[in-house]
């Protein structure tokens, strides 16, 4: 459905109007479940407070919170409904785009070699087992379906409650990200760029810079390239891992990672941090937006984070929220500034920013 903005529509329509209105329902239902509509958060936090008072001590961690919440019938119903809306979303997105499969694949092929910008796919690319996960319950995860990029783009439109189909989330985060203190921005690397919304936002903010988006998923990169061409934005999309970018030392002035880290095992998180330190020049900035640390979470948010990990295809997210990312960045040679948690991550959790400046070798 169109709006009055001049930004080109890059998200393909689903096959029929009834599919769009079905997904519109899911978007509204999701907002109701996870927001003030159903009011789970406030009521379950009150229940946790009452339980803490009864015990004479707070529910200290997820090991104490989980059995308490799971003993409440309301939590069971909440969990059923949250899981159901996610299943409904992916089922309908995949079913509807599946009806247009040949058309969409032909369109991707038509854009692959078109400019501006370029698409670098690696025919010998070897997938990492850790990435073989159906993240957020997306069928086939990020790479097993050739239409995965389209699925993801429409899925995140629903996830971000309609704010993502025009790239609003990414554009806002890019616009508030700090640049290096000396103002020099020649090259920017967008790690795990998915469908490239932040990649093009960076090019629009820094038009003289070379901007490269990398991702392990071919289907994401093809959709990203198509989208950038449709916007007329000259960026490169390249099939590479964030933990092994194969770019030279000190090559970039900026590295950006939006909601990447919570989808990595702890082992890989450390590797990505060290890789970012390697490819950034001294004074360069590594900007990260991701789930907030669990230290700042209420009992309900801690429970939802656990639920999201176990029941919503996010196996690494709980470990990430318990991980000391600031400490890892400092150990890798960064000076770190963080933002207070805020803003929704599409669920009950919140997000925060890490702005990490590469120290000079001395």
């Amino acid at each position: 459905m169109s709006t009055t903005t001049a930004v080109p529509e890059t998200l393909p329509p689903v096959a029929q109007r009834s599919d769009a209105s079905y997904l519109d329902f899911v978007e509204g239902f999701r907002a109701f479940l996870l927001g003030p509509g159903a009011d789970f958060e406030k009521r379950l936090n009150r229940a946790a407070s009452a339980e803490a008072e009864r015990r004479g001590q707070p529910l200290a961690n997820i090991e104490e919170i989980k059995p308490f919440f799971e003993s409440l019938p309301l939590t069971a119903l909440r969990d059923r409904l949250v899981r159901t809306q996610q299943e409904m979303k992916w089922h309908k997105v995949a079913q509807s785009f599946g009806m247009k499969r040949e058309e969409l694949l032909a369109e991707l092929s038509a854009y692959d070699s078109r400019g501006p910008g370029k698409l670098e796919l690696d025919p010998s690319f070897e997938r990492a087992p850790y990435a073989n996960v159906h993240f957020h319950l997306q069928p086939g995860g990020y790479h097993k379906d050739e239409l995965g990029g389209f699925h993801y783009h429409y899925g995140t439109k629903v996830f971000f409650r309609g704010e993502n189909d025009r790239d609003g989330v990414q554009s806002k985060l890019v616009s508030i990200s700090p640049l290096p203190a000396d103002g020099k921005v020649t090259r920017i690397l967008d790690m795990a760029c998915s469908v490239g919304q932040s990649t093009t936002a960076w090019k629009q903010r820094c038009p003289d810079a070379e901007v490269i988006g990398i991702d392990h998923s071919e289907s994401m990169l093809r959709v990203a390239h198509r989208r950038a061409v449709m916007h007329g934005v000259d960026v490169t999309f390249s099939q590479r891992f964030a933990e092994d970018t194969r770019y030279p030392d000190g090559h970039f002035d900026m590295v950006f990672a939006f909601i990447l880290f919570h989808e990595l095992p702890v082992r890989i998180i450390g590797e990505v941090v060290r890789e970012a330190a390697r490819v950034l020049r001294p004074g360069g900035v590594f900007t990260i937006y991701d789930f907030a640390t669990s230290k700042t979470m209420s009992p309900y948010q801690l429970y939802h984070r656990y639920f999201d990990a176990r029941h919503n295809g996010e196996p690494y997210s709980q470990d990430f929220c318990d991980y000391d990312l600031t400490g890892a960045l400092e150990a890798a040679g960064f000076d770190v500034r963080t933002t207070p948690p805020g803003g929704g991550s599409g669920g009950a959790g919140t997000t925060q920013g890490w702005f990490a400046t590469r120290r000079s070798a001395s």
Binding site: S21, F29, G37, L72, N132, H134, D145
Partner: protein, 104 residues
């Protein structure tokens, strides 16, 4: 995507993910019932959205065709009104959730 693909995931550590069809309520029949209720609500909304689209087309053009319904692009103001109508619909159907006392 074949259903067995879900079982072929290979996460490295982290929180173990549940099986493909988890049961949250006291028995699978209750889970299925809740899923059917939500699915039915979605289908009702699909029909209501179509009816509202037909009404808009009749207001604007005085005539309705299947193709016009399929390709109808509401104005920004109309879209905002439709989102508000959708949110009212969801609230009306699911407001019972707010009435459950968590510790009753």
């Amino acid at each position: 995507m074949k259903p067995e693909e879900y079982q072929r995931q290979t996460p490295e550590g982290g929180t173990p993910i549940v099986s493909d069809h988890p049961v949250y309520l006291r028995d699978p029949v209750l889970d299925a019932t809740v899923r059917m209720v939500v699915e039915l609500a979605a289908q009702v909304w699909v029909d209501r959205e179509r009816l509202l689209t037909i009404e808009s087309l009749l207001d604007e053009l005085g005539v309705v065709t299947r193709e016009a319904i399929e390709h109808y692009h509401p104005s920004a103001a109309r879209q905002t009104a439709m989102k508000a109508e959708r949110d009212r619909f969801v609230n009306d159907v699911f407001k019972e959730l707010r009435r459950i006392d968590p510790i009753a």
